[in-house]
Amino acid sequence: MTKLYARGWLLLIWLGLGGQAVAEPVTVAVAYLRQEIERPPTLSDLDPVPADSGIAGAALGIADNFTTGQFLGQDFSLKVVSVPVGGDFPAAVRAALAVSDLLLIDAPADATLAAADLPEAAQALLINVSAPDSRLRGVDCRANLLHTLPSLDMRADALVQMLVQKRWRDVAMITGPHPEDRAFADAIEASIHKFGMEIGSRADWDITTDMGRNAAAEVPLLTQALGEFDVLIVADELHDFGRYILYNTWLPRPVAGSEGLVPRNWAPVIEQWGAAQLQSRFSARAGRWMNDEDYAAWAAVRAIGEAVTRTGLTDAEGLRHYMMGDSFELGGFKGSPLTFRSWNGQMRQPISLVHPRALVAQAPFEGFLHQRNPLDTLGLDEGDSGCAVFG
């Protein structure tokens, strides 16, 4: 925490891809700005967060853009800047803005806002690829900040649509101690209210014994106290204790939320809609599966690439205008074109409901209708976002 890097830069990687230019070549420079965070310890180390989470997705997006760009004389480069915990993130962003006005932001909400509020960023295009906070799409939205990662409320709505569809109306919830857990729990609760249901019983996770050995003793007691329910929602966004809940509940009931049946924007089990191609392209490069942050970063870079390809423009303002317009659509291997919401800059996208071995369903579900687009049944709609800076 105390280690400060005066320059704010730790890592600087250029992924320039030279190529056979056809017409007058243009180069589109994209910078990836990461604020490193401290991750609390988890009970199991089975699934470490990859060091290049998000970055590998952006790199694939650049490679994809380049393959297309080579036929049009368009070159794409990626600069990755990773600021250590306690480093000066705004300074790093300012330095990056001196070189490029197209930035991917991989940082917590407050750092993301600090970046967007820099005077140097006023005319730039920032894309949030890692902060799921609903407020960034609502009261704290910024006109220069788009979002390719789905918000928590989009994921919550996807899961709750499934509960409605399955008629699992009696819901119990266990919430972890971290702010991320509470934020997800709040989003689930808001969604449950939206669809006319209630959370029947709830518990906070405060067990400190070793779950690797004690889950079978502790979890039945905890879940017995929750009484009767159809489904147990676990809010454990850091993946600390949730894995120990499954098959240890007092009543035989499905588990959903952060564990079990999980609403995600991307997962290794997605192979429909041509996704197998994206999965194999990513795995071949990164040597691992593509995760939610990788997909968000890939989609952000591809959205920029698509806008450059279609318009021939390279300036942030022109690209943002096209991306927010009616002509823009990105093929994202989810079965529907991906577009941006005009009221808060959030990328519209289906949300997958997955377990570790298969895709269970994809939201929006049939029967959840919207006057504009069924995808707008997920997350903050125009009327309730509270975002006023998008014209």
Binding site: S280, E329, G331
Partner: protein, 337 residues
């Protein structure tokens, strides 16, 4: 125990032996000339379902390599080519016996292909590799590989053999290839996720379907410029679900039948005016199609419902649904005389 074993062996000699002989006979004895066939690849069953165009029944199920998708017959119908995508091979099969004769070197993950009018050069889109591979089917050698956009899929060769076109799903382009030199002569943008390409009207037009864009772009081949764009609209179905993929033309190129994916409909397009005249409800996630000999019946592959819809072309109505294997993908017509 001993007694049982003896009895089993007896049964083997008398009954099962005959049964095996009959099964092999059915597979290996050449089909008698008569009813024509529609061959359908089942992507997730590693098989082909052969449909009799008279009885509208599946008469044979033939094993293939892994994940069969594109399927075409040689111009003389003596061989059938199958993109076995996950086997990284184009398989060459004897249509009479259903036996795999050999594999062609295809490049990685072949998805669709087109056979040059010379009946010899096969143009293969390698989906995972951003490459178009040209194979000589006689020498079984790769003639050349051409770098194209990401996820090439649609493949077409002009009737005069001078041009080949690959469409790339993520790059969103039609790549125009001079077949004499193998050079890319043009790269034209189309709407999102192009899936299928066909030269029509004696090679004067190129049609390209865009699955996510929801359109068909019609190019004037001489100028390689966009001549028309066809859009689709169905009541009570969101435009995002209207995803054109495969399409086929009636004999005079007067009408195009377009498979519209998860909207579960075909569109009937007037190929002269580019106006959509009709929509026909078929099975779920309809992707590719093939006509019978007189183009009176059209057979569609419905991936999600795992069946083939037979459409009466004149009445523009679905006639029958035929269950096939899992995830039917491609379809091709085979005359048997």
């Amino acid at each position: 125990m001993r007694g049982v074993r003896v009895r089993v062996r007896k049964t083997c000699r008398a009954g099962t032996g005959l049964a095996i002989w009959l099964v092999f006979g059915a597979v290996l004895i050449p089909q008698q000339a008569g009813a024509d066939e529609i061959w359908v690849t089942n992507e997730k069953d590693n098989s082909i379902s052969v449909i009799d165009t008279e009885s509208l029944e599946v008469t044979r199920t033939i094993p293939t390599g892994d994940r069969p998708r594109g399927i075409i017959f040689s111009h003389d119908y003596k061989a059938v080519y199958i993109c076995a995508s996950d086997s990284d091979a184009v398989q060459v099969m004897d249509p009479d016996s259903g036996r795999i004769l050999h594999d062609l070197p295809s490049g990685e993950d072949p998805e669709q292909f087109a056979l040059h009018p010379d009946n010899r050069h096969l143009y293969i889109a390698n989906e995972d590799d951003a490459i178009t591979t040209v194979v000589d089917v006689d020498t079984r050698r790769v003639i050349r590989q051409i770098n194209v956009g990401i996820e090439p899929e649609g493949m077409a060769v002009s009737p005069d053999g001078a041009l080949a076109v690959t469409t790339s799903e993520t790059t969103n382009m039609a790549h125009w290839i001079d077949t004499a030199t193998g050079d890319l002569v043009a790269n034209t943008l189309v709407d999102s996720r192009p899936r299928h390409a066909e030269f029509v009207k004696h090679g004067t037009e190129l049609w390209v379907s865009s699955e996510i864009g929801g359109t068909i772009t019609v190019f004037d081949v001489a100028t390689r410029s966009e001549k028309a764009k066809i859009t689709f609209e169905l009541p009570r179905i969101h435009p995002d679900l209207i995803q054109p993929v495969g399409f086929e033309f009636t004999r005079d190129d007067g009408l195009a039948f377009v498979a519209l994916g998860p909207s579960n409909h075909l569109a009937v397009v007037n190929a002269q005016t580019y106006v959509v005249e009709d929509y026909i409800l078929v099975g779920r996630r309809v992707w590719h199609l093939a006509f019978d000999r007189d183009r009176e019946h059209l057979f569609t592959t419905n991936g999600v419902s795992g069946d083939v819809t037979v459409v009466d072309v004149a009445r523009r109505k679905a006639l029958k649904t035929i269950p096939v294997g899992r995830y039917p993908w491609g379809a091709a017509f085979r005359p048997t005389d």
